[in-house]
């Protein structure tokens, strides 16, 4: 398709925003919105244009449990539990710093979890320059330790706790960049120790990514898919 034609982009954007596209066409257009500013602009124009049609849809108050679920998924409920002693005080206060320290602490405990790029470096006991992520669940239990050397193209995965993936679902790893939408890193392989190929060098993928997360999906999302619930999340830390 020749996306240089404005009238084609306009038509695609209209059908996408209107809702009449098939799932495959929707995914293609999601991808196009990311890649082509003209497609994004066309979609925004149609969203603006069609917004008045939604104003006549009757409002419906959602149940109160809905906010509780949103609050918990966005990290709010964690800060409210009084019985966790020092953690309840520390987490809201130190947040990011704690996450980084925890990540570094775990790496020192489990250096063998990192991808061994160089046996000489390994024998010296020094860690290669690496991106490292420690992902925790909603109860703050560390579940996954992820690492990749700075210019490597392989992600090492160590499971610190079992991850119960529901039947018919796969665990998908997402990168949450500082600016822009979450993007898929890949489907997590099973096993206590595993590796996963990366689409590009770690440096190129993770340089502007402060956080990583995992969701359960029915199929691996396309390049511009949107994540479902995040069941695990954590900081992406540069270790050098």
């Amino acid at each position: 398709m020749n996306y240089d034609r404005p009238e084609l982009l306009d038509r695609l954007a209209a059908e996408y925003v209107f809702g009449s596209m098939t799932p495959l066409a929707r995914r293609r257009f999601h991808r196009l919105r990311r890649q082509l500013p003209a497609a994004e602009a066309a979609a925004r124009d149609w969203e603006r244009r069609l917004m008045p049609l939604s104003t006549v849809v009757p409002a419906e108050p959602p149940p109160s449990r809905l906010w509780d679920a949103i609050d918990q998924r966005t990290g709010g409920a964690r800060t409210k539990s009084p019985s966790r002693g020092w953690r309840a005080w520390l987490q809201p206060a130190l947040g990011l710093a704690f996450g980084v320290l925890a990540t570094i602490g775990f790496v020192q405990l489990y250096p063998e979890a990192l991808v061994p790029i160089d046996s000489i470096v390994q024998s010296r006991g020094t860690l290669p320059q690496s991106y490292v992520g420690l992902l925790t669940d909603a109860q703050n239990n560390p579940v996954l330790l992820l690492s990749s050397t700075r210019h490597g193209r392989t992600l090492a995965i160590k499971r610190l706790r079992p991850l119960d993936v529901p039947a018919g679902r796969i665990a998908v790893l997402w990168a949450l960049p500082r600016d822009g939408r979450p993007f898929v890193v890949g489907a997590l392989p099973s096993g206590e120790h595993a590796t996963m190929p990366l689409a590009d060098e770690s440096e190129k993928l993770f340089f502007t990514v402060p956080r990583l997360a995992v969701s359960f999906e029915s199929v691996q999302p396309g390049p511009d898919g949107a994540p479902g619930d995040f069941v695990l999340s954590g900081h992406c830390v540069k270790l050098w």
């Binding site: 038509r11 209209a14 059908e15 925003v17 209107f18 809702g19 009449s20 596209m21 098939t22 799932p23 929707r26 925004r44 969203e47 603006r48 244009r49 069609l50 917004m51 008045p52 049609l53 939604s54 104003t55 006549v56 849809v57 009757p58 409002a59 419906e60 108050p61 959602p62 149940p63 809905l66 906010w67 679920a69 949103i70 609050d71 998924r73 966005t74 709010g76 949450l176 500082r178 600016d179 822009g180 939408r181 979450p182 029915s218 949107a226 479902g228 619930d229 995040f230």
Partner: protein, 188 residues
């Protein structure tokens, strides 16, 4: 509905991680957005999932919102509609797969108690004072547009619903959108 400037302020606070602002934004907009979700997915439990996913998305992406690019409710509504349409399409694929597997037993398709989408479309036309303009969209085109927009039906689903060839539906929707664009652009 909350004033656009207020919502813009709340979104900019949410982008900085302000949870109180996030709660306020939710309180101000959830009812409108839940209504939109229910109209598309036709099941309250699904609509709750959609709204939950949408607001989690808002929390993570508030930093990407630009007041210059769109009004706050337009941005929020688009997030909800997109999630609802993705869920609807995934549900359609699951139903298709289960039919292909020749599972016996009842399907769990709910009865459709939603207000007639054509009625909503005409209500919108009146509310926006573009009834004269939209009346020039012929009956079948209007019905296709309403089913697609308010119920999120794809071309093939609209064709099945109104018992018309899919080719005709695609043409009606395309022409209908052209006419709709002209009518709505006159409002801007």
């Amino acid at each position: 509905m909350a004033d656009a400037a207020v919502l813009q302020g709340l979104l900019s606070r949410v982008a900085l991680g302000d949870r109180a602002a996030f709660r306020t934004l939710y309180d101000a907009t959830a009812a409108s957005l839940f209504g939109v979700a229910i109209r598309i997915v036709n099941r309250r439990d699904r609509a709750e999932d959609v709204l939950q996913d949408a607001f989690v998305n808002v929390w993570h992406r508030a930093g990407t919102y630009s007041a210059a690019a769109s009004q706050p409710m337009t941005w929020l509504t688009a997030i909800v509609r997109n999630r609802a349409l993705d869920v609807l399409r995934a549900d359609t694929l699951r139903v298709t797969e289960s039919l292909n597997d020749e599972e016996t037993g009842e399907t769990d398709e709910p009865s459709d108690d939603r207000p007639d989408p054509l009625g909503l479309f005409e209500q919108a036309a009146d509310a926006l004072s573009i009834r004269d303009c939209l009346d020039q969209i012929r009956g079948p085109q209007r019905q296709c547009l309403a089913l697609a927009y308010y119920h999120g039906l794809s071309h093939s689903e609209v064709a099945a619903q109104i018992a018309s060839p899919i080719g005709s539906v695609k043409v009606w929707i395309r022409r209908g959108l052209d006419r709709l664009k002209r009518c709505l652009d006159r409002l801007q």
